[in-house]
Symmetry: C2
Subunit: 412 residues, 2 copies
């Protein structure tokens, strides 16, 4: 099956919003084994929308649209598709009832033009009811051509696709594509690729693709199979070999992140943590607090940006600051030990460094010391990060959490 | 001039990357007064790329492409455009020299296929040298049709467009469009629109467009004029009227954010700040630390997530916690006063609330108290935020900074 992704909306053509739906749908269709040759964006213009839909059907079997299902006269996706399929639109009482209920629930007043949103094809149509907004989606299908029309806001598009469209499309595909992701910390994409290149080259099903995302290296293992169970049977041994090769650089699998992994590790081992942050300025604590239930592990954090705060909150010695500077191995060590001692936590983590843009104490931008005090021992890591101020802070916060993960792992 | 934006790259069709270039170019072209009717994404496939370029030129005068200028055989944007224009590509020694230098500078080895990147049109072409990568961009122009070919990585695309393409296109436009943005805090998009609707309706040049971005309401004032000076003369009085109407809800103009405005306010007034965060968990401090030089104002922060930390770091009374709970007006007040007192800062800001997903102390998810202690007075604000855990934390951090901005403003 060949598909095209079509976003409808002048706000995309003006650059007011970013077309994240296209990326989401592209990934989902790739996983379903449906080839996408084109993505298009067109404005709320009747003739151009019609040209685009007719042109897309001249080269594809399936069009997935987002947007243009709103209540105003500008919103014409459904009407144009109906024209292509030679269908009449009629009022769907159930859809209208749901729209009325949605307005009641959100305490807003429904206007007459919302009735337009409840119009659905008389024949050859499937209504996709919308739990997160007013516009129902529609599937229309005839003579080997299919259009799936989804609303524009991602919080409506994504669940509607995942819950209603994906199972529908999967049934039409002979094969399914299942992916599993291995997440790798503190190893670059190309270094990671080099370490597992022979494994990648030896594989055809599943395939292994290395890539980089949000500053992390990722391995995506994708199997083509008749069902999910068969796919997982193909993936399991390959994932095991990759994990053995990469060792503890692999911190997690699937939809997770480093904060979640560390939070779960702390809670599971009933360890308590306190954080003293200079250059990261609260970022480590804030990232951990994203995890609900972290209060059982995270005792407290101190943002000791000034020397005074380092001394009076953490008990860093004035001589240390004077002799070695605020950005030094020695200060990092006293910070980590200080926060552990004053908070009574099992583990103390500290950061101090030069985030830039100016160097400080004659030390270069990007130099960051990370200290972890645990079980009477303190490890200090000297790191050099590149990038702008915020990138350096992010890398430092990320690296601190990853070293913490390893320290906890190693003692297990 | 009618334009189309065309991204070339299979990685976009697979959803591996997000097409941020399309949004950037859409905004830039709108500002230049160039209409964009379509955006397209096509893969690295010779026939489909050719079809797309020829089809786009059947309806547009200008095509801006991103991607497909790499060194491999897959990269065919330049070759396809040359075919459309009936041009021959020849080696540009200067481009080749720059590519060699780029490899030297980044310490990598240049391979033979990079020579392909230095091929440029023999006639009717302008070479756009690339300061941030190896692929030069190209402008080709003939018989009223123009193609602008840019590299794919945004850190190459954006400066090349801004420094070389934008001035070139601006010269061809009779009018320029200049926008100014007013940033509004803690007022929703529709409430803001209602307050200034009569001003919006009375305006034709400049126009005023309200929209929402990253949780903020924004007013964009756009003037059509012969040059920037004339545009600014048109915008100035309209901006003044809007700002008068919206009062201190307008926190800034143009490319700024609330953190920057608050940081500059603190530094300018030589005020010092300390922050005690419970539910925001370091987010306020971390956001402020994004501003270089904040160390002169931000004395310290405490992430007092546990009751113990609230007591021993900030001196919150055990009775207060017991009687009113950790999430209470009284605790917020003592936290703000405690952090100001123990740090010696002029201002103490505190947050305590229920970020969810579970309610706590019988208090509902989204309830957050924000306290600001300044000049012997402490204001406590009771807020109800909706959304998921992280959204609630972000809204709380944002609101705390905005209230701080107002408190400092009011005493001026």
């Amino acid at each position: 099956m060949k598909a095209e992704i079509l976003a409808v909306g002048t706000e995309l053509l003006l650059g007011d919003i970013l077309n994240t739906n296209a990326q989401f749908l592209a990934q989902e269709l790739a996983n379903l084994g449906i080839e996408v040759y084109y993505q298009t964006v067109v404005g709320d213009n009747p003739q151009r929308l019609k040209d685009t839909i007719f042109h897309a059907f001249s080269r594809a079997d399936l069009i997935i649209t987002t947007g243009g299902l709103g209540p105003t006269e500008d919103d014409l996706t459904k009407e144009t598709a109906a024209e292509y399929f030679g269908e009449r639109l009629i009022l769907d009482e159930r859809a209208l009832g749901r729209i009325r209920k949605y307005f009641d629930r959100t305490g807003r007043v429904m206007t007459e033009n919302n009735v337009k949103q409840a119009m659905v094809p008389e024949k050859n149509g499937i209504v996709l009811y919308n739990d997160n907004g007013t516009a129902p989606g529609i599937i229309m299908e005839k003579n080997g051509k299919m259009i799936v029309m989804l609303p524009g806001p991602p919080r409506e598009t994504i669940p509607m696709f995942q819950n209603q469209v994906k199972p529908y499309l999967a049934k039409k595909q002979e094969f399914t594509f299942v992916s599993r992701i291995l997440r790798v910390a503190e190893v670059g994409e190309s270094a990671m690729e080099e370490r597992v290149k022979d494994i990648i080259d030896a594989q055809t099903n599943p395939t292994i693709a290395p890539y980089a995302k949000d500053g992390e290296a990722i391995l995506r293992i994708t199997a083509k199979a008749r069902d999910e169970e068969e796919a997982n049977r193909l993936i399991d041994p390959v994932a095991a070999v990759l994990k053995e090769r990469l060792g503890d650089a692999v911190y997690g699998e699937g939809e997770t992140d480093l904060e979640t992994v560390v939070a779960e590790q702390l809670l599971q081992k009933q360890l308590t943590l306190a954080v003293a942050e200079s250059c990261t300025g609260g970022m480590i604590a804030s990232n951990l607090v994203e995890y609900p239930g972290i209060s059982a592990a995270l005792v407290e954090g101190c943002v000791t940006y000034s020397n005074e705060a380092k001394m009076h909150r953490l008990g860093v010695k004035a001589e240390t600051l004077e002799k070695y500077g605020a950005v030094s191995e020695e200060t990092a060590k006293e910070m980590a030990e200080g926060i552990a001692r004053t908070s009574g936590a099992d583990i103390g983590v500290a950061t101090t460094g030069v985030a830039g843009p100016e160097s400080s104490e004659g030390k270069p931008v990007g130099l960051v010391y990370i200290a972890i005090a645990y079980k009477g021992k303190t490890e200090v890591y000297t790191c050099h990060f590149v990038g702008k101020r915020n990138k350096i802070r992010e890398r430092a916060a990320y690296t601190a959490l990853n070293r913490l993960r390893k320290v906890i792992n190693d003692e297990a």
